[in-house]
Amino acid sequence: MTDQPPSDRYPGTPGWVKAFAVIAVVLALLIGLALVTGLGGPHGPQRHGGPLESAAIRLASGL
């Protein structure tokens, strides 16, 4: 097995990029968790629906 000269090989991903990637994954997981569990509250324009709108939706859907 012969090693290629260092200049012919990709020097590798810099450490700061790896650190960035770890932080991005952790943040994405936290945001995903908040959305799935509902801790982040409802998202989108529908979240301005107050009790009247909610009652109207429940009535319309027969609940």
Partner: protein
């Protein structure tokens, strides 16, 4: 595609103005957002949501889209490229994500402003509206990280950028 030096300076100046303007517009938006998070006064809430909707829709949205588009133009029109350097690629992804989240959030802000503008909306209804503080502070932090990264330009080529650099060096050697 390479921009001529004069074009490059003009696009870069536009990109800087739009990007820094985006940060400034969020700073102008934040006090109103803070008011909606802390105040129970209906008249104050009505005014704050109206101001937030105006700033977000008429100022922040065009600045964000403009910053993203001019950023892509500057990258493609210079030797930096879009995905040759990690700092450029990461800045692009973060700016694109911030713009997408912003465009979604603006729909919510405009919906809140519509409720706040309704004279029939009761105090309870107005106090029940959320603030967007988490999104605006988060967005500001993302923009500041991009800003610092664009000033420092940390070293590091992507595998694609490294191949392109090597190919260019070989071409020069053969001449």
């Amino acid at each position: 595609m390479r921009l001529a030096p004069g074009q490059r300076r003009a696009v870069l100046a536009t990109h800087l103005a739009l990007s820094v303007g985006w940060v400034g517009a969020i700073l102008a938006y934040l006090p109103f957002d803070l008011v909606t998070a802390t105040s129970d006064e209906p008249a104050t809430l009505r005014a704050a949501y109206a101001a937030m909707s105006l700033i977000a829709g008429a100022v922040i949205r065009p600045l964000a889209i403009g910053a993203l588009l001019t950023g892509i133009l500057v990258s493609l029109g210079t030797t930096w490229g879009l995905v040759r350097h990690w700092w450029v690629a990461i800045s692009l992804v973060m700016t694109a994500l911030a713009t997408i989240v912003l465009l979604i959030e603006i729909q919510t802000i405009e919906a809140y402003a519509a409720v706040a503008a309704d004279p029939a909306a009761t105090a309870d209804r107005l106090q029940g509206l959320d603030s967007t503080l988490l999104h605006s502070v988060g967005g500001l932090l993302v923009l500041l990280v991009i800003l610092v990264m664009n000033v420092h330009k940390p070293r590091g080529l992507t595998p694609y950028g490294w191949r392109m650099q090597r190919r260019a060096a070989e071409t020069l050697r053969q001449r």
